[in-house]
């Protein structure tokens, strides 16, 4: 008798798995979830004490941080930008193509795309002395809280 129960149980499991499999095959074109991550550039760390306004030279900055990702001249100052871009994209879509049978199609989709930047900007005067630093750690902002901040809920 216990053996029969055991067999029944196994058949039940197999039936569930086959049903899941068939359902999966049938709805594979209708439901999809996509998760994409993209990173460009090396990590940018906070400047710390090694880089100081009024003291650090362009030569020292290049030695410590390497080649900048972007360069520009701004109002007589040289701007060096070190940047890492972190891109995240999550999307889910549900669509049932019933257009030919019933009329309108059922189509629902939601997605959230967020690009965060970790940026260090250094401003040098023409004599090569650091005059200003700006650092922004964009990756500190969590994905969901950044996409849906508290103000949006009110």
């Amino acid at each position: 008798m216990p053996r029969k129960h055991h067999m029944d149980f196994r058949f039940k499991i197999i039936r569930i798995l086959i049903s899941l499999l068939i359902s999966g095959i049938f709805i594979s074109g209708c439901i999809s979830f996509e998760m994409v991550k993209r990173i460009e550039g090396s990590p940018v760390t906070p400047p710390g004490d090694t880089i100081q306004v009024g003291k650090t030279t362009l030569e020292t900055a290049l030695l410590l941080l390497g080649a900048p990702d972007q360069l520009a001249e701004m109002e007589g100052k040289d701007l060096l930008i070190y940047e890492q871009a972190l891109y995240r994209d999550n999307r889910i879509s549900v669509g049932i193509p019933l257009g030919d049978i019933t009329g309108p199609n059922i189509d629902l989709s939601a997605y959230g795309t967020l690009v965060r930047y970790n940026t260090l900007a250094l401003f040098f005067s023409p004599d090569g002395i650091l005059r200003d630093i700006v650092f922004e750690n964009g990756s500190d902002h969590p994905y969901l809280k950044t996409l849906f901040p508290e103000e949006d809920k009110k």
Partner: protein, 126 residues
Amino acid sequence: MKQLHCAVIVLIIISLCSGCALFGKNKEFQPFDVSALNNIASGKSTATDITALFGAPTEVVKMSNGNAYIYKRSISKGTGIWLVLISFGNFERQHDQIVFFFNDRDILTHYGKSLNAEKASYGFPF
């Protein structure tokens, strides 16, 4: 019974993996030889010396008292997996970059290098 079990498992694995997997690598290649940096000296080398060693720059930027030549190459690596309902993608791009700063007489004043292109890696998005 055991055969049926195995067949179901194999079928599930096949259908779950029925999507595809992708591994891709892309090089944006501006060739330069990093060892050539040994042949240059700040205060002596000229823009002509640099272009003779490294070729045409990827970009030239006007600075407050001269120009900067940027040499850049990058490597991108991508991983993608498409399963029945779920797909994952991960892409990473890293650069090798050398920036030369010249004064208004085209004499090299400083240079900086970042060699990270080989650090680009394959991975998952979590």
